[in-house]
């Protein structure tokens, strides 16, 4: 089976690990080999959270520089920071709504503008899909559902070896009961992007 390497980057608290877990459970459901490695050092204290996922017949659970097939970012600056993982074929999916780090939020550093971010991504990666996932999450009923919106957009690509059905089934069964409806709605909104 073809090996697909997916990198998800986010700011602590954006639900990166839940998104990765949903993909892992969906892979398990359909017997797709899956391994994931996460770096969540001090996630709750505002740091960056990375999940590297490897689907298919490989052994490692880590993605080297230039070797991601897909890079998904829940926050544009973090997508940009992870560009080292991309090559000219990498598909990038990113939220376009910024969550400025403190230095940028208080005017001590510049947050790159949206056009600049998109240019830099396209210089390095293959394709780019950038949209306001935060707005869609709010539309679905909870700003915390950015992760499900991005999952929806990921599911739309034909690169991901897990089916949309297995992902929605996992969301149904493995995410918190009182969030399932919002999660599915957010997923559907992301899927349409």
């Amino acid at each position: 089976m073809n090996v697909i390497r997916l990198m998800i980057v986010a700011v602590g608290g954006q639900g990166n690990l839940l998104a990765a877990k949903v993909l892992g459970e969906a892979a398990l459901l359909t017997d797709v080999p899956f391994r994931m490695s996460e770096i969540h050092g001090m996630a709750q204290r505002g740091g960056v959270v990375e999940s590297a996922m490897v689907f298919g017949d490989a052994n490692s659970s880590l993605i080297s520089d230039g070797e991601a097939d897909i890079l998904a970012g829940f926050e544009p600056l973090e997508t940009l920071r992870a560009l080292g993982k991309c090559n000219k074929k990498t598909m990038v999916i990113t939220n376009s709504a910024p969550l400025p780090p403190f230095a940028a939020a208080v005017g001590e550093a510049n947050y790159p503008d949206q056009y600049e971010i998109q240019q830099k991504i396209l210089d390095k990666a293959g394709t780019l899909k950038s949209f306001d996932a935060t707005a869609l999450a709010i539309e679905a009923g909870n700003i915390m559902a950015v992760n499900m919106v991005i999952l929806g957009a990921l599911s739309r690509t034909d690169l991901l070896p897990v089916s949309t059905e297995s992902i929605t089934e996992t969301i149904q069964n493995k995410t918190r009961k009182n969030f399932v409806e919002v999660n599915l709605k957010a997923f559907a909104l992301g899927y349409k992007q």
């Binding site: 398990l28 994931m36 505002g46």
Partner: protein, 617 residues
């Protein structure tokens, strides 16, 4: 029911490496486990803690790693299966019991899990704990995958009982924090009560006994080598002339590289899982079939040096590559491409992919370092200390915990740090050798772990410094584990005592003790000034619950604050406190009401009194 207690052999479950290890121990019938939390091993003990509340497993958060190993050692010598879990630097703390426990041995299986952290994602060093296996003379297993982590945990108990020695189960972050599907096995109900037969000439390590026990240890080591030579965890794949020898997570990178480079027919891959003592006979046979060997191990050249020595003894002349010739670094962790490129280079094959020509990731991006949370009490304490020490020349030795983040601007409250508990010991040294005021910090959990001993020392030796104990009611950094100062009744758990830090400090005879509530800024500054003026050891306990922990306990929320029209843009709030709830919009200072916890620190800093609580809506 806890998911790791699922009694469905054959079921596949998506597990984190640390969960797989905890499950393995449960399948092996572990009866007692003890730990001091430490990343990347923390989730193992967390799962044990949870499971102990609904099963026969006894688990305790011990005060530090040394004590946890002593607890487990006694249980294992009573014949019950025991486990002790720690991060790599924790094994330094537990090294004293380890070294002599190896002499004494065990009856029931004892597995010591040690989690190394190459690249230091959450540690102060990247020491290679494999040396501890060699130093103590005990057997060591190293898993390469998550499934193997579970199986090895089970086998580690078996091996421990076979050798009557503790066994080191050594992981790295990429095992602990990786996830994959794991097939569950059968659960074994633990044997929770043991038996101890008095035999001082065997169990009391006075010199005359230990001389005999050392002989016993070396005999066991020879026995362990035989087992290593026949262990299924040491395996060979392929029969080519290019030898690749690897351990732990590196195995997965090597296996991928062999596939990617299409060199399967040329390679003999030696997958080393039972790695101490080394399977000498297997290695001799392996070297005899190879023209050229590459050793792929993260960390120190442990295997490499041993293999080179074996080759020399065997009078075998062949190229053995590794760290010695700088093919691989001793710094940081490996990754698949690094390993693949090095294999390609060493054996002279073309890398499958063209070299990574694309430019590196853009630099000059605004960084996103972890910060003290909005409403963190440590920020308030640090600010009060800064105010109180305004006209003093101060050095701030610190300790390990969230408050280490106080080193970042604008607080900048950290000057020296080496290990858990070092605040008090290093302060003693600085106070003797510098003409500076010494003010040091340690957390409540760290105080009990080891800083307390330094305080005792300071009182006895009449040192001169101020210790500020940041008492936020939990072990915050590693995920809010309890410690001896925590009121467990409040967590709905019975059967625990409680040690009051204030009473301990009083009982130690500290000359000056005060308690502050750091969100009351003016009073805190006054108390701190008094403590700083005291000649001798003074202690200030800064008491305020961890805001993140308070949230998880669903404590009542305070009203968030906002910046009113009175603000004249001094920005003292931002410049002095660096609280992440602040932002600037259209040149005006704002507070994010979702992130603001209502601690009111900023309101006390604002020279215009412009920061006010939001009215209840």
């Amino acid at each position: 029911m806890h998911k790791l207690l699922t009694d469905e052999p054959g079921k596949k479950m998506l597990l984190l490496g640390n969960e797989a290890i905890a499950r393995g121990a449960i399948e092996a019938g572990v009866a007692l486990a003890a730990a001091y939390p430490g990343t990347p091993s923390s989730e193992i003990s967390l799962n044990f803690f949870q499971m102990s509340q609904e099963s026969d497993l006894y688990f305790e958060y011990s005060v530090n790693e040394k004590v946890s190993l002593e607890v487990a050692a006694a249980a294992a010598n009573s014949g019950i299966r025991s486990m002790c879990i720690m991060k790599h630097v924790g094994l330094n703390v537990a090294a004293d019991p380890l070294m002599t426990l190896a002499y004494v041995g065990v009856k029931g299986g004892l597995v010591i899990l040690v989690a190394d952290d190459p690249s230091m994602f959450s540690s102060q060093n990247e020491q290679d704990s494999r040396y501890y296996a060699k130093l103590s003379g005990i057997a060591m297993l190293e898993p390469s995958t998550i499934q193997e982590a579970k199986e090895m945990t089970i086998q580690a108990f078996e091996l421990s009982e076979q050798l009557e020695e503790p066994v080191l189960l050594r992981t790295t972050t990429r095992i602990n924090h990786s996830t994959s599907a794991v097939t569950l096995g059968k659960l074994t109900s633990p044997k929770t009560k043991g038996k101890f037969t008095r035999n001082p000439m065997r169990y009391v390590t006075v010199p005359v006994v230990s001389r005999q026990l050392h002989v016993r240890l070396l005999e066991n080591l020879a026995k362990a080598e035989e087992l290593a030579n026949n262990s299924p965890f040491n395996s060979l794949e392929g029969n080519g002339k290019w030898g690749i020898l690897c351990n732990g997570v590196s195995y997965t990178y090597v296996a991928d590289a062999i596939q990617d480079l299409k060199i399967k027919d040329e390679v003999t891959l030696f997958h080393l899982g039972f790695s101490h003592p080394l399977p000498r006979q297997m290695l001799i046979a392996f070297l005899a079939t190879c023209d050229r060997v590459l050793i792929v191990e993260e960390g120190e050249p442990v295997i490499e040096e041993a293999v080179k020595a074996i080759a020399q003894e065997q009078k075998q002349i062949l190229a053995i590559g590794g760290k010695g010739d700088k093919l691989f670094s001793r710094l940081g962790e490996f990754n698949p491409a690094l390993v693949r490129k090095t294999i390609a280079h060493w054996f002279g094959v073309k890398d499958r992919l063209p070299p990574n020509e694309s430019p590196p990731a853009p630099d000059n991006l605004p960084p996103r370092p972890p910060t003290l949370c909005a409403g963190c009490s440590h920020r308030a304490t640090f600010h009060a200390v800064k105010k109180a020490a305004d006209d003093l020349d101060v050095i701030y030795p610190t300790d390990i915990g969230c408050y280490t983040l106080g080193m970042l601007p604008p607080l900048g409250m950290a000057d020296f740090l080496i290990c858990m508990g070092s605040s008090t010991g290093t302060s003693a040294g600085f106070s003797k050798s510098l003409d500076k005021k010494v003010v040091t910090f340690c957390g409540d959990s760290t105080f009990f772990h080891s800083a307390m001993a330094g305080l005792v020392n300071a009182v006895f030796n009449k040192h001169n410094f101020t210790l500020i104990i940041l008492d936020n009611g939990t072990t915050a950094m590693t995920g809010h584990q309890p410690h001896p100062g925590v009121d467990m009744e409040k967590l709905g758990l019975s059967g625990f005592g409680r040690i009051d830090i204030e009473e301990v400090v009083k009982a130690l005879g500290v000359g000056h003790l005060s308690v502050i509530h750091p969100f009351k800024l003016r009073k805190s500054v006054e108390s701190l000034k008094e403590a700083f003026a005291f000649d001798g050891v003074s202690v200030v306990i800064s008491r305020e619950i961890c805001t993140l922990y308070g949230k998880s306990l669903k404590l009542p929320k305070r009203r968030p604050f906002y910046v009113s029209e009175k603000c004249t843009n001094h920005k003292d709030c931002i410049d002095q406190l660096g609280c992440p709830a602040f932002f600037i919009k259209k040149g005006r200072v704002k507070i994010d009401p979702i992130r603001c916890t209502g601690c009111a620190l900023c309101a006390q800093v604002c020279p215009e009194n412009a920061i006010r609580p939001l009215k209840a809506s």
